[in-house]
Amino acid sequence: MKQRISILADLRIKIGNETFDNPIWVASGTFGYGTEAPDLVDVNRLGAIVTKSITRQPREGNPPPRIVETPSGMINSIGLANIGVERYIREMLPIYENLSTKIIMNIAGTDIQEYVEIMKMVESVSSVIVGYEINISCPNVKKGGMEFGVDCDMTAKLTAKLRNITERLLIMKLSPNVSDIVSIGMSAQESGADAVSAINTVVGMSINANTGESNIHTTYGGLSGPAIKPVGLAMVHKLYQDLSIPIIGIGGIVNREDVVEFMMAGSVAVQIGTANFRNPGISEDILDTLEIFLEETHRAAATELIGAVKTHS
């Protein structure tokens, strides 16, 4: 465990009725089920772990090649490979009892019924998870959540249905692959979401010029990493203008400056994604250095950063 450098600034943030120790979370699909890299990270220091998307049935995922590095980023098309909700309940939920960090379960489905069924199954058992992040924006499954994520009415209907099932946090994860992310976010808000997280990956493609082959089996995949940070910042800032519920910022965050920028754009918390692949312990480093930043800039609380960007208009 790394030594905590400073405890001066208040890092706590609040979403709904939940208070998180800090705004540094890890993003779904980049941190497995939170149990994979115990040697390299003390997960209890994280603000929250958003676990890998869970579907009703186990999914094998897409054939290889599933990932490729691209300039300042990577494209993935894992295809929601996961153990399915039954094994998640049986094998993962008990593990989370022993963690002090907060667990947010990410759910994916192909129709409203699947999301509903998964959430009902989890709600029917006792668990310590504090909320759900709803994946309505995965670009890598044929009948995936994307049809929800690009449609206001479907987003509203799904959000409302899930709101009826749980009192835990309900976070809708938004896609950047839409013409107007704000209208989707508004639909989620009006239907009872506690927060939105943005952004999921940007649809991308990579080709090998020498072989002429696509570098991803499914041709298109999700672009992530620093390459999409400006896209994420813009979308968070747009959402922040119009939404009153908290926004959790995601998109190529690799250091404390990125965190600060996402919070200044309007994020209450952030999720570290692709950077975990380079270093599963990077969130701890970012947390340590964020504390120093707050101290150096004479901020008493991380929340002072939220929406603090000075725009020119």
């Binding site: 290889p64 692949f277 380079r278």
Partner: protein, 263 residues
Amino acid sequence: MIIERAYIKSNREVANNIWEMHFEAPQIASEYSGSGQFINILVMNAWNHPLRRPMSIASVVKGNISIIYKIFGEVTQLLSEKKVGDEAELMGPLGNTFSNWKNGTYPILVGGGVGLAPILNLKNECDTHHVKYDIIIGARSGDEHFMDHEPEKNIILSTDDGTIGVKGTVMVPLEKMAKENENPYLFACGPEPMLEAVRNFALSNHIPAQLAVESYMGCGVGLCQGCVIHRQNGEIGRHSYHEKYSLVCLDGPIYEAKDIHFG
């Protein structure tokens, strides 16, 4: 498994576009458990190349680890430009090891292209344990070889163009040697077409074989789920919960030939 900043102790081109690098990495060396394991190298701190590069361990001597690599793109180009005394950040040791090579069978080691590292590592382990073996190293041309063709010492080189050793692929000497020896056990690492040929030969002749496979890897520790290979028999491993695919970083990189296929 740890992340360690390691000094580069040597970095040189040992054959045409084949490079060897030594690191001083005592912590990773102390956790190392055998040939087949790999390290995940961060060559540059900047984020224009976000991912580490997995490299098979070619040797571990005291606190030093070596790799063998080819210049393949910008990152390996930068690796080749590293000087003695420079640092690189290594994650490791990762993955499983070759097994059963000292259990009374006759190991035939087969390496080609970038797949030399784990095979040379296994060769050294066989030497250390006084296990007799044959080794076959394949390349396109003689200038890619840095070992000598020494059939009397059971070291066979092959080249596609016949400039050194046996003309043709590694399969030419392999098929002969596998039949000449009792209880052969094949251990192979190299380009996918080579591994596929070794696999097909092993399966059709009922010869056991272990393959060290390559896969495009995102993290090396099971987080990204990117590095899958097709599983053959549907047995669910300790780490991977999938029947159809296996994660090379956790379940591999060494597989019994019968357990996987190349899609």
